[in-house]
Symmetry: C2
Subunit: 468 residues, 2 copies
């Protein structure tokens, strides 16, 4: 029996001792999970320290460690040595982002589409592909990672971005997200740790959670992740990989400067991390942003998986992304492709190939850049007071909020007045943060007028609520 009675001490979570069944650690974990999903324990709430709860339940404290660990691996809670254990910001809801839930009536500023108005150009070129003499050859099991001429076209496309490789080290897969799933399954094991920006691509967060990869958030500034913070984390924990979106981080729109790329690369080399470089937005950066020199892949080809999706730059529906990698990763990546996809449609890859080789892809990308520019100009009209930091052509903006909102509440409030938008909590890779933002997609409305309507309504909402 515990020596002290804890009835008088306040403890944020007190499981009923009588509900405990053996095995204790499983029992405690499921009680905790219930109370979090019930909403009894709110996001950010502090749990009792392991030793205190153990004393209360009269068991060894490492049994609590194990129970907490189960919930942590499910993404329900996170522990910070020295401070305590807390309920994760997105414990009780799914933050996966897809086109499935787009409301039919409202204005969508949540899901980031890709200015789909250029798809008629894609539609126009398809008959040309279909008339090729070798169409039948595109319909069988051959060349599961891409036909060599398709890979060469991909290299061709990526050449202006600074990528220099060969078809042997390229794979064509079914989009950037698919590439990430492949890279994670190929190169990481359950329990591995990957560092990310504090705010990062929420579907990567979900992916990592699914594969039981722990994300470790690292602080950054306007030039990207801080190398010293990265190094500090590498020294203190066993880190296996790093996920970055150097050309335009989703959601923060931050671009990693060339100097920063070099500094980060040297830490990555030193600690032998695997770099997942998602460079989907490079077409908005290379040749446009003066500081852009090259992808990080160039600086460290043997430790990097470079991912260049065509959904944002060329066509979102054809699901084609290029993966570029060094010799060391090749066999593992191929194996993961065969396990997850078997192959990616050669027909779809051929259409993208034709768009690239005919110059139409460049034309499409250029139109999308123009729309991005126009949309960003409109955004500035409404949110002038916030100096525009980050990428000037981003398909989305990152709006700082002046006060604390309840993230779920805010999203559903806005949904009710016909605006979908995502609160920054969805993009939190680990612990809660006191700063709040909204990610506002500029590329998903049917017209610029619709975008104006949405931004106007959003602005009114924020003005009204910032004063409360």
């Amino acid at each position: 029996m515990p020596i002290n009675s804890f009835d008088t001490y306040p403890m944020s979570w007190k499981p009923n001792k009588k509900d405990l069944k053996r095995p204790f650690f499983l029992s405690i974990a499921s009680l905790l999970e219930q109370d979090i999903t019930n909403g009894f324990l709110a996001p950010g709430a502090k749990l009792p320290p392991q030793r205190e709860l153990a004393d209360f339940l009269d068991i060894n404290f490492t049994t609590i460690t194990r129970a907490y660990k189960i919930c942590e691996s499910k993404g329900l809670i996170y522990g910070v040595t020295g401070s305590g254990t807390f309920v994760a910001p997105n414990a009780a809801r799914s933050i996966i982002i897809s086109a499935e839930k787009i409301s039919q009536n409202g204005i969508d500023l949540a899901f980031v589409a890709s200015f789909e108005q250029s798809n008629h150009i894609v539609a126009e070129i398809i008959p040309k592909v279909v008339n090729k003499s070798y169409l039948e050859k595109l319909l069988n099991y051959s060349d599961p990672t891409g036909i060599p001429h398709q890979k060469r076209a991909g290299l061709n496309w990526m050449e202006p971005f600074g990528i220099c490789s060969d078809p042997e080290h390229v794979a064509i897969v079914s989009g950037s997200q698919n590439a990430l799933a492949i890279a994670v399954t190929a190169l990481f094991k359950s329990g591995n740790r990957i560092v990310t920006d504090l705010y990062t691509y929420s579907n990567f967060i979900v992916l990592a959670k699914m594969f039981n990869i722990h994300l470790v958030p690292i602080a950054g500034d306007q030039d990207g992740m801080l190398p010293d913070e990265l190094e500090r984390q590498c020294r203190q924990t066993n880190i296996h990989g790093i996920f970055l979106m150097p050309s335009c981080c989703n959601p923060t729109t931050i671009m990693i400067s060339d100097d920063r790329k070099r500094e980060l690369t040297s830490v990555i080399r030193k600690y032998n991390l695997i770099l997942l470089e998602d460079d989907t937005h490079v077409f908005l950066t290379a040749g446009i942003i003066p500081d852009y020199q090259q992808p990080m892949f160039n600086l460290l080809p043997e430790q990097t998986v470079y991912i260049c999706g065509t959904a944002k730059s060329i066509c979102s529906g054809l699901r084609i992304a290029y993966m570029v990698f060094g010799d060391a990763f090749r066999a593992k990546i191929f194996k993961a492709i065969f396990s997850i996809n078997v192959k990616t449609s050669s027909l779809d890859a051929e259409i993208i190939t034709e768009l690239i080789l005919s110059g139409k892809a460049a034309e499409i990308a250029s139109r999308k850049k123009q729309w991005a520019q126009a949309s960003n100009a409109i955004y500035k009209e409404y949110f002038l007071e916030h100096e525009l930091t980050g990428h000037p052509l981003s398909f989305y903006r990152w709006l700082p909020l002046k006060r604390q909102y309840d993230a779920t509440q805010m999203e559903s409030d806005l949904e009710r007045i016909g605006i979908s938008v995502f609160h920054s909590n969805r993009f939190l890779s680990g612990k809660a943060s006191s700063n709040q933002y909204l990610r506002i997609a500029l590329s998903s409305t049917n017209t610029l007028d619709e975008l104006r309507l949405g931004l106007e309504a959003l602005k009114q909402y924020i003005i009204r609520h910032d004063m409360e």
Copy 2:
């Protein structure tokens, strides 16, 4: 110090005590991994019992448990309570099967293609799809799990097989393998156990290994898995799921009889297992094999994920499979789809849809069945002495070998004389077996004459070696 000197006792594996660094369990695991991948420890070799090795190294035996566990989760070894720990049959090599490695010159009886000679019919219909007024609508992010009319076409296709559902409970994904990857990530957690036939689809074995799912092999007879054995295993271990290919098991060609389906279903219901029903070969069975009544999905829709790929029946290159599931799994499966694929190409799905609705898909399937019949007849000419058991129209055959071969050796011997074929060890889900087989693909040669040549050469090889 250990009391006895073990120098005189034989122990199958003796790591050098001086090589051990702290932490011990990691150190031991990596030494063991090295000796297995080196080939120093051959597949099937028995490792020292945990307690014995612990005594030898003068540490606690549960530390050995942890070291062994790491290697087991990598698929290098497996433990059998009461008997010991053994090196896994496929520890040192990858058994993933893909079209990538097909030798250009030899005759391919290894990879199972799908009589690609019918692809011209697919090619002929593509222009019709491309001329549709709504082509542009197929090129964006919408309807990530399939457009409703495409899902209805899929249900249409599966109706003769006995599937009865609605578009809300169907998802279109990128092939059967992709469906399996989605189902496994959606519904299972790291460390979960799934039972399979003793010999099962090798890419599922690899997939399971990647996601750290333990496969538990269950014995079967000519009608499929034995319900009593399944029940016994469920009683004794915590089993989470079951993977079956009822219409034609790959590689054994066994069909699960209707009675057996019912018996197995009642065990699956009783222990609340999740059934992954890969019914890719149903088009060879429904309406052809008199015993065929219905898929297991019908008997247990809320616990089943039904997977019906079109690669074998319609077109292998378009990468379209249908997943059908109950309400309970819907949200989880959608989430996994968004994490792994985002979406599957609507263009590819539309081509399959058009083939189904125009009746061309049925025509293609019918041709493939004719080729399968012809190929099986040829097979019988060469391997007459083996009474043909299993599916009569299977795209591959399962040839029992009369003596023990070295699996890797045999495959590479045959490769040298221009024949690719797979030894049964590739398909072993768990422990080694004393019976040996070859899986012989009948659907991958360009012509039936080429098939004859391959089977003749194979027969000569076997006759020559069976006498040794």
